[in-house]
Amino acid sequence: MGELFARMRRSPQGLLGMILVATMLVIAITGPWIAPYDPETFAPLLRYKPPTFEHWMGTDQYGRDILSRLLVGARSTVLMAMLASALGTLAGALIGTTSAYLGGRADEAIMRTIDAVMSIPSLLMALLIVTLLGKSSVNALFAIGIAFTPGMARVTRSVALAVRKQDYVSAAIARGESARYIVWREMLPNVVAPIIVEMTIRVAFAVMLFATLSFLGLGAQPPKPEWGLMVSESRKYMGQSPWMILWPSLSIATVAIGFNLLGDGLRDALNPRT
């Protein structure tokens, strides 16, 4: 593990990605405790304030402190996005590995079906599922997780197939190793690394998707301080205070960039041959 961090530090993407993501994670976890104000307290006299000493990022249309809302909302955005990615990756990995293991006709049938499912654009799929389940953060999480599953299944399958072709797997089969050993000790360690890279990059997409769903009113519901929701609500008040829209937008973009960078850095660091 320590070796991994050392390698990550070597590339600019890895370093920057780690810093950004680590910061975001800390904020996501400690948000509610370090927020200077209660994110839901109205303060009608302090509406639309620009950044001041008391309110580092200003206030919104109800006088709520934007910084506090961001800090508390980080949970929804960041953690939810990570969970959704993990969900999609797990489900997808299961399907993909099984398909690769089965091979032949079964594999082809499964993959053609996966391709067909992927004809439904991710946002549309998420919209349909949220419509089915009801509007809430948790349902948005499931929706995104399900929307990610076919893509991750494809990636897992192609990685698993590539690993399966390697001579060291053939050597294991020729030795008479059990299927369990081959999958767990020979294949999986070589499959996991590219999957983790892919998953990290997907988190960036999940963040954006999650915020979009909330923006459309189908994810987190008011008065929750979810970042996409904050942007949506602030649109009407752009004239009064551009800060209301600026800070959450910047935060969303920063998290997405952070995870993209982290994914790229991980890709280089996890390569065993360099």
Binding site: G104, R105, Q166, D167, Y168, S170, A171, A172, I173, A174, R175, G176, E177, R185, E186, P189, N190, P272, R273
Partner: protein
């Protein structure tokens, strides 16, 4: 005046750790009509010299010394001068025609464009001239070949096109970078003959780079031996190969496989029952395509092995030779349960009819080593874990601790015990292959199948690995199924040789009866095509 003169030329690459010297004080020259062979192993710098001559060096390169083409200095030349020289006064033929031709342009287009560029021909004239050139290099239907794409031509055909392109502009100098390495033996021979013909005819000065001394001895006038960036010896080919002065040259010459020089002293017991008997082994590839069956098309199932039968006696080394696609690896995989097969295997008296019948006892006694050491060792496992698997599976610890047994295995293949803690990427190609050998011998097998295990190694490394194998055979009395495409090598170590062609076994012959005793036409063709090692050029 020499066509090519290299005077005290040195080349360094700037790497994070400092400067890495690729070439050190290299001096050589090539006159008109001369072929200079440049012989070296991987990492010797021979390819760097080619790039230096073509002025195709990265920005991190630092040079000193002088390279000149006739009276025109190349080092220090302007980009304009270089552009005028490349392709026109210096040509180049690359190693792998499969990757050095643009897959999205026709062969004709890639040939004509140099004619248009350097000889100022109009497009139509260039096409006509191109066809004539293709005919000159021995292609049978030049007009059709002009319109083909690279993937529609064979390796030999592609290389002829590349050669035609290099000769097209009548350059003064042509660099050949291992042009036959990626081709099969018979095609390689044809290309060598073609090269000799063209070179005689045009008197072009040629720098022929190769790791293969046998090939170089067949076509070069003079030879320069390069080792770690230094030219250690140079001179007329007859002199250098007959009376080498430098120790590296001597070592290299020793390492080259020579059929007359037998390495294996043991003989299998002629009376004993066969250890393994393969009876009409057949392997087919390919699945029935649903659409094809819908359209009523005939199924194309590719035959990997057609009814191959052979036997191996205890203590015998059976060589299997053939070109790629001949089915030798397919057979190896069938024997180790990696390919489903028809037919029967009898091992030590027991009948093995299919994969399921291959139990632990069989697998312990029959081991396989693969060609590519980079992919046959799991990159995420340390050597310790790699070697511990056969011990765990077959319980060979014999009461000693695993650690000690592994140290013993490593010692047996002449590797230090500390290597147990290393990952494969921390080892060289030869070292990785030794680990693979140690892994195979961990279970004390009766038969080890070696599937082209030295094909990707340097000649000197190959010699060391072969020596190791021979030694292990002497100690343990193991039988080998030694698969290779190198006829000279197999004649040094095998007791009998099986020749495979297009999935079938075409000849099985005692090594002592070669070469005159070969009956099959293909075998004779193969024997004729292999460069007779180190005979001076006539």
């Amino acid at each position: 005046m020499s066509i090519l003169s290299v005077d005290d030329y040195s080349l360094d690459y700037a790497v994070p750790a400092g400067l890495r010297r690729a070439l050190d004080g290299v001096s050589l020259h090539i006159d008109r009509g001369e072929v200079l062979g440049l012989v070296g192993e991987s990492g010797s710098g021979k390819t760097s010299l080619a790039w230096a001559i073509m002025r195709y060096l990265p920005e991190s390169a630092k040079e000193s010394g002088r390279i000149a083409l006739g009276s025109q200095p190349l080092t220090g030349a302007t980009p304009g001068e270089i552009a005028a020289i490349r392709g026109k006064r210096i040509g180049m033929v690359f190693q792998d025609p499969g990757t050095s031709l643009n897959p999205t342009l026709t062969l004709g287009a890639q040939l004509s464009e140099v004619l248009v560029l350097h000889r100022g021909l109009a497009k139509k004239e260039a096409e006509t001239e191109g066809e004539a050139l293709l005919a000159r290099v021995g292609l049978r239907n030049p007009a059709a070949m002009m319109r083909r794409y690279p993937h529609e031509a064979s390796g030999g055909e592609k290389q002829r096109v590349v050669i035609a392109t290099a000769f097209a502009c009548q350059p003064e100098l042509i660099l050949f970078d291992e042009p036959t390495t990626a081709l099969d033996v018979i095609t390689a021979r044809q290309i060598l003959d073609l090269f000799a013909e063209l070179q005689e005819e045009t008197h072009v000065a040629s720098l022929y780079i190769s790791h293969d001394l046998a090939v170089v001895s067949a076509i070069a006038n003079r030879v320069a031996v390069i080792h770690r960036g230094h030219i250690v010896e140079t001179g007329p080919i007859g002199d250098v190969f007959a009376k080498p002065r430098d120790s590296y040259t001597k070592m290299l010459l020793e390492a080259v496989p020579r059929p007359g020089h037998r390495i294996v002293a043991t003989q299998p017991d002629a009376q004993s029952a066969p250890l393994l008997a393969a009876d009409r082994i057949g392997v087919t590839y390919g699945r029935k395509s649903f659409v094809s069956s819908l359209l009523g098309r005939a199924q194309e199932r590719f035959a990997g092995n057609r009814e191959v039968s052979l036997t191996i006696r205890p203590g015998e080394i059976l060589g299997i030779v053939g070109e790629s696609g001949s089915g030798k690896s397919t057979l190896a995989k069938a024997l180790t349960g990696l390919n489903p097969f028809t037919g029967e295997i009898r091992f030590g008296g027991r009948a093995i009819a299919n994969l399921r019948a291959m139990d632990e006892a069989y697998r312990r006694d029959v081991q396989i080593i693969f060609q590519n050491p980079d992919s046959s060792l799991n990159p995420r496992q340390r050597v310790r874990e790699i070697l511990s698997r056969p011990l765990a599976l077959y319980g060979e610890t014999k009461g000693g601790k695993t650690r000690d047994v592994i140290a013993g295995l490593l010692e047996q293949v002449r590797l230090p015990a500390e290597f147990a803690d290393r990952f494969p990427h921390q080892l060289s190609g030869g070292e990785k292959q030794r680990v693979a050998i140690a892994r195979a011998f961990a279970s004390n097998p009766k038969l080890v199948i070696c599937d082209e295990i030295t094909s990707s190694l340097d000649v000197s490394v190959q010699a060391a690995v072969i020596a190791l194998l021979v030694e292990l055979q002497r100690i343990h009395g193991t039988s080998y199924l030694f698969i290779t495409h190198d006829l000279n090598l197999v004649r040094q170590i095998a007791h009998r040789i099986a020749v495979m062609y297009r999935g079938a076994l075409v000849e099985l012959i005692d090594v002592s009866r070669l070469p005159e005793g070969a009956v099959n036409g293909y075998t004779r063709e193969l024997l004729a095509a292999v460069p007779a090692p180190l005979s001076a050029r006539a």
